[in-house]
């Protein structure tokens, strides 16, 4: 089983890296790009002995307590069989 965790800055939190990337993308000639926000992506391999509900609970806790900082970031968890 695999878990995917996406961590992004909350809307309204300044993302200077995303802005710099956006700027470069425009310099390269890409048109119509309204905004770019940079986030983090985690792939977590889970032992086959762990049940899906248990994995979902544990990864959710991990995402909240470690992988993200709830003051500035939101997260989303996906579990793949």
């Amino acid at each position: 089983m695999k878990a995917k965790v996406y961590v992004n800055l909350k809307p309204g939190i300044l993302d200077p890296q995303g802005k710099a990337i956006h700027h470069s993308v425009e310099l390269l000639g890409f048109k119509g790009i309204a905004d770019i926000r940079q986030g983090k992506y985690f792939e977590i391999a889970i032992d086959s002995s762990v049940g899906e509900d248990q994995a979902r609970e544990a990864i959710g806790r991990m995402a909240r307590d470690v992988l993200s900082n709830p003051i500035i970031e939101d997260y989303r968890v996906e579990i793949e069989a």
């Binding site: 800055l9 939190i13 300044l14 993302d15 200077p16 890296q17 710099a20 470690v66 992988l67 900082n69 003051i71 500035i72």
Partner: protein, 233 residues
């Protein structure tokens, strides 16, 4: 009175803090390895600057899980003195001992220069021997010093006079231009509600000797030493 300087893998201002306490404060000081869990012999703990755990994940995020941090929380909650400088400030925020977070500098650059900060309140054990409004010239050296928090927290920090330092110009005016990293409300340092935990991005420990360009940081350590001496008396 005894000071402890916590050492994480990647701390690099631990010796600066040690030097200032032993030479300028003239008090006993020991390093505390991040796996140690006994703080009973210390009267104050300094979390120094550096790049604990290489700033992996987020600045300060992994250091917060080091064994010593549970003890630092108990130490702080018992009303004892905790000073977090630069990476130490980031760690204190990640650990929830101070509100808010420090994100990437507005202009993305790592900024390494002397800046001016205005002392906003003398009502802390770290600043009571310095006049409020005093402009201190202190070095900063960070990529993630852009302080953010939600509106409610900012209101609370202002109302309770917990914003201890603000970035300012040489005359003490709090301007956007002086706010090099883009911090909310020019915040350079804050304290907790009980006022025994202070975190700041500038490095007062690197500003205690004229040879290093400024000795404006001494007032902070002088205040701290006087606080502990009074507590011991």
């Amino acid at each position: 009175m005894k000071f402890g300087v916590i050492v994480f893998p990647g701390s690099n201002c631990d010796h600066d803090a040690y030097h200032v306490i032993s030479k300028h404060v003239g008090q006993p000081v020991d390093f505390i390895w991040h796996r140690d869990t006994d703080l009973t012999s210390f009267d104050a703990v300094i979390i120094p600057g550096g790049f604990s755990y290489g700033d992996y994940l987020r600045a300060g995020a992994l250091a917060r899980f080091s064994p010593v941090m549970n003890e630092v929380k108990k130490f702080a909650n018992a009303g004892r003195i905790v000073l977090g400088i630069c990476n130490g400030f980031q760690i204190l925020c990640e650990a929830g001992l101070l509100p808010g977070a420090l994100i990437r500098n507005r202009e993305l650059h790592f900024i390494c220069e002397h800046v001016c900060v205005r002392l906003e309140t003398s009502d802390t054990p770290f600043t009571w021997q310095v006049n409020p409004g005093a402009v201190l010239r202190l070095p900063i050296a960070h990529a993630d010093g852009n302080y953010v928090c939600d509106h409610a927290t900012l209101d609370e920090l202002r109302r309770e006079e917990r914003i201890v330092f603000r970035y300012c110009d040489q005359q003490g005016n709090v301007t956007e231009k002086a706010n090099l990293n883009g911090s909310l409300d020019n915040i350079a340092g804050i304290c907790n509600r009980e006022r025994n935990v202070l975190g700041l991005m500038p490095h007062p420990e690197r500003a205690c000797e004229e040879l290093l360009g400024s000795s404006d940081g001494r007032g902070i350590f002088r205040s701290l030493a006087a606080t502990l001496a009074a507590a011991a008396a």
